[in-house]
């Protein structure tokens, strides 16, 4: 696809481009899907999709943005920091946990809010970063995503949210719970403005994230094999005291049961979204 060559120059760009995800331990790795040994470089070329079995490895927020934007992007609201509203302490104080996560990811919290062009069309994209406390949604993610949606309404641009999240952030208690309502209300305004919202559900998207913005897309698009659900599998097993069926809460399961519009392979994702936006907004002038 021409799309590949178009993407490559973008590699070193972007506001956080230096956080490229290449891990250096060895040239080969074992695929989680087919258990075969694959060449790491081949995996990078294939956008972290196994060339042998099509297993979709997880990718981080920066690489997700590289995949979708044409080139460099602008980031928004990257300077919001949680003030630890509950004074939460578990195995360590939440504020320390946050500090560690910031250092490890280079992000202030579990989201990147960005604006740029997708196949020539200006769009806003929010991507949740799973590596930051499981992509969990607290006050900061709630505010950043809400601002992004309000920006989309004000600028009349399409909104895309790529989820990779275990749900609401326990350490911020009911404050995080209410972010479900806050973001959903912002999406109501986007809906009233008749602007497209594409929700991209990647592995894993669970809990309150699925139970709010991730399920509210004009299109809900899953990546192959992604775990998507509301209740955690272990909680369900404990409640019903039986084993869960094979493939339960996978993207394919959700498609079968009517909750995804489509499952789209990563290499085709950008062109799929571009075509959908052409349909919703009309072709680019």
């Amino acid at each position: 696809m021409a799309w590949f060559t178009r993407q490559k120059p973008a590699r070193e760009q972007g506001s956080a481009g230096e956080q490229h995800q290449v891990r250096t331990e060895g040239l080969w790795l074992k695929c989680d899907g087919c258990r075969q040994v694959i060449w790491r470089k081949a995996l990078i070329e294939s956008l972290q999709v196994c060339p042998k079995c099509d297993y979709h490895f997880r990718i981080d927020a920066v690489n997700r943005l590289k995949l979708l934007f044409d080139g460099p992007w602008e980031t928004f609201d990257a300077g919001l920091y949680s003030t630890n509203p509950l004074g939460f302490v578990d195995s360590k104080p939440y504020s320390e946990r946050l500090a560690g996560m910031r250092k490890a990811t280079g992000l202030s919290d579990a989201v990147i809010s960005a604006g740029g062009t997708l196949a020539g069309r200006p769009v806003y994209i929010c991507v949740l970063e799973l590596k930051f406390i499981g992509g969990s949604v607290g006050a900061v993610v709630g505010e950043v995503v809400t601002r992004a949606i309000e920006r989309a309404v004000a600028q009349r641009r399409p909104m895309i949210i790529a989820s990779a999240s275990g749900g609401m952030r326990m350490q911020e208690g009911a404050v995080s719970l209410m972010q479900m309502a806050k973001i959903s209300a912002a999406l109501m305004r986007l809906d009233e403005a008749r602007l497209p919202y594409i929700s991209l559900l990647t592995d894993p998207t669970t809990g309150g994230t699925t139970g709010s913005f991730a399920m509210l897309g004009d299109l809900n698009i899953g990546e192959p094999g992604a775990q998507i659900g509301f209740a955690g599998p272990r909680v369900i097993e404990q409640t019903i005291r039986q084993k869960l069926p094979e493939g339960f809460q996978r993207a394919e399961f959700l498609l079968t049961h009517g909750f995804l519009d489509a499952i789209v392979r990563r290499p085709e994702m950008k062109s799929y979204i571009a075509a959908a936006l052409d349909f919703f907004c009309g072709p680019l002038q």
């Binding site: 009911a174 809990g207 709010s212 909680v235």
Partner: protein
């Protein structure tokens, strides 16, 4: 605006009052126990004492009727109102029938159907929250538990009719919030409202679900906590040792709050109402600092 300030003032005074009455403030874990007390009044107990001529309406017009949510129409002090509440059972048979108050997607969809009907006929809505959480089952996932909750959150945020929410017992995470978007949100004094149950939280942190007591403190889930965090508008006092010790009085207290809230809300245009509701939730959780650049 004046009436909003009045409500805020009343809420603040109520909170002070509640705090003063609880000199030896109950431990959050005691609140959790009270919220789950076997004799705790449930939605139908309040409906019986608050709403006259209540007619329950069943079914989501798709899959089934979910007994974990009761919905219907009736009159509050002579005026038509729609009530939707999560419903627990008291004895074993009832508990099973009500699925321990854990709604399935069809329950949330029934709730939305009835709320849209309220909007259509210009009737206000009272919702009552009392659930350990949305039902975690295979069938619930197959029928889109997440989607049902998400749609309710979005649709309740634009419903063109006054909406009052009261958390009467357990506000169990997204499963409770799915009926919890409104113009005024109150909690009974001993109700709790949390993103996760204390037991599950303890299981995650200490790998020991018996440490619920510790988690209950850490989660800041009491009515007093939520008021302090700016997530609710007020606390409805409970009589004696808790609502179960005098259900009639508890219902009277709820009525007083509902009466005042509806008087304010019914005076607003639907446009002003929906705008204020958006701003209310928009401001929730402003617990961040912002560094430029």
């Amino acid at each position: 605006m004046d009436s909003e300030q009045t409500t805020d003032r009343i809420a603040a005074l109520e909170a002070e009052l509640a705090a003063a009455r609880q000199v030896q403030a109950a431990h959050p874990w005691q609140r959790v126990q009270l919220a789950r007390h076997p004799k705790r009044p449930h939605s139908l107990d309040y409906i019986q004492r608050t709403i006259s001529g209540f007619q329950e309406l069943h079914g989501d017009r798709g899959i089934a009727d979910d007994p974990a949510i009761v919905a219907g129409m009736g009159f509050f002090e002579g005026n038509p109102i729609v009530v939707v509440g999560q419903q627990k059972g008291r004895d074993t048979k009832q508990k099973l029938f009500r699925n321990f108050g854990m709604p399935k997607p069809e329950g949330y969809r029934k709730a939305l159907r009835i709320m849209l009907m309220a909007e259509k006929f210009g009737r206000p809505v009272l919702t009552l929250l009392d659930t350990p959480g949305a039902y975690p089952g295979i069938d619930a996932e197959e029928r889109g538990q997440a989607e049902a909750i998400a749609v309710n959150l979005r649709e309740m945020s634009r419903l063109k009719t006054p909406m009052v929410v009261v958390c009467i017992g357990e506000g169990g995470s997204g499963g409770a919030l799915a009926l919890g978007v409104g113009d005024r949100v109150f909690m009974m004094e001993n109700a709790v409202y949390s993103v996760i149950s204390p037991e599950s939280c303890a299981a995650i942190i200490w790998r020991d679900s018996s440490k619920g007591e510790l988690a209950a403190s850490a989660l800041k889930l009491t009515a007093q906590d939520l008021l302090r965090l700016g997530l609710i508008d007020g606390i409805i006092p409970e009589p004696g040792e808790g609502a179960h010790t005098d259900v009639d009085q508890a219902a009277e207290n709820l009525k007083r709050t509902l009466r005042a809230a509806l008087a304010e809300l019914m005076a607003l245009s639907v446009e002003a109402l929906v705008e204020a509701r958006y701003q209310k939730f928009r401001k929730m959780g402003n617990f961040f600092t912002e560094v430029a650049g």
